[in-house]
Symmetry: C2
Subunit: 225 residues, 2 copies
């Protein structure tokens, strides 16, 4: 009992695009925001060095998220992510193989969870090499989205394992924002969304820092009365 339209045709009787997913996996590398890239098949077969975001075509019965997770597992060796949709790139001619649109996704993962190989690397987002397709645009979308995330919550992407010191948290925010942040202002803006653990942590010289963990509700603007 396949569906047929008023002309007696099924959906498969009409031309359809190939739908791909590509995911910008952001991470930190030496206190800078970086993105995971993989070598293209062409490059693996002996062409010149060419990098791209991990991606794949969507298979039947699969959601876009499923497809993104599959490509991350198989091509980037990362598991357990939660890719979020960014935008559909659909310019005709963006892919010389034919009619292909790409649903861009992004996620963030701490560097410890990545396994780099000669076909999987991590590059700072402000020093990207030439990328295949419109993958540079996707990364720009991802960076914008991540910066917006970090303006709303202490560590939405779980780049830090709690508990953490204010200094470490600030380091993460500085990497994400790409600029230095004032310690005192940063502390005060974060405190309403953090829970002090009462424990201290010392790292070399100087007064030990208190350890915090994200507050339960991670409320937006702190306590109101």
């Amino acid at each position: 009992m396949t569906y047929r339209d008023s002309a007696g045709r099924t959906l498969e009787d009409y031309p359809r695009p190939s739908v791909a997913v590509d995911t910008a996996v952001l991470t930190l590398e030496e206190s800078r925001l970086a993105v995971l890239l993989t070598l293209t098949n062409d490059a693996v077969r002996g062409g010149h060095e060419e990098w791209r975001l991990p991606g794949t075509f969507v298979h039947p019965g699969e959601t876009l998220t499923d497809a993104a997770l599959r490509s991350l597992r198989e091509k980037a060796g990362v598991e357990g992510l939660e890719p979020r949709q960014l935008h559909v790139f659909d310019e005709p001619g963006r892919d010389d193989r034919g009619w292909v649109m790409s649903v861009a996704h992004y996620d963030v993962v701490p560097p410890e969870r990545l396994t780099l190989t000669d076909r999987i690397t991590v590059v700072a987002v402000d020093e990207l090499p030439a990328l295949k397709y419109d993958h540079a645009k996707i990364i720009a979308f991802a960076v914008d989205a991540l910066r917006a995330d970090y303006r709303r919550s202490p560590d939405p992407a779980h780049l830090l394992a709690p508990p953490f010191t204010m200094r470490r948290l600030r380091g993460v925010h500085e990497a994400v924002a790409g600029e230095r942040l004032l310690p005192d202002t940063f502390r005060r803006s974060m405190l309403p969304n953090l829970e002090p653990t009462g424990e201290l942590f010392s790292e070399g010289r100087g007064r030990p820092a208190e350890l915090y963990r994200p507050a339960v509700a991670a409320s937006r603007g702190g306590t109101r009365r």
Copy 2:
């Protein structure tokens, strides 16, 4: 010279989804935010009353925007819009005809530009009837996006033809936000993004109001020094 992969297959040799676009056209109706709906084909053929957003399948050589514009022209009788992408809805099973994903779009249009018929109507967004597919979700996305737009700029969707009075602008913002706004606070928050024309406008009783138009750059936060 069709592309062939390492197995000698073209893109068309693999299963592909049908890709649709659906657009939430928001407008104002009696000072309330409303959305344009069309009667489903089933309903037209004599089924029970059932409404949906205007949409269509994407054709080859066409961008998603093109497809959205085509569906708006042909099914909703509106031209000259600039639909923006919201989200891809891809739950398997969301469409009982087969593997269909929908790229949701939205745009806004002043009510004067709409021509309503017995198959095209406008309904307040907080009094929606049952809708086909996940179109209610799309409308929710669209309303959120529009509210975000109006928090950043006086009239991003050009619902008002300049010049306009502060009162009219506030009326639009109240409709979009779905709540009353304080006249004095609203005025002061808008002034940095408006240019006074020097002209006055009187509407019945009371002191005439000055007419404004959106400031050129529509700057975000007003003047800094």
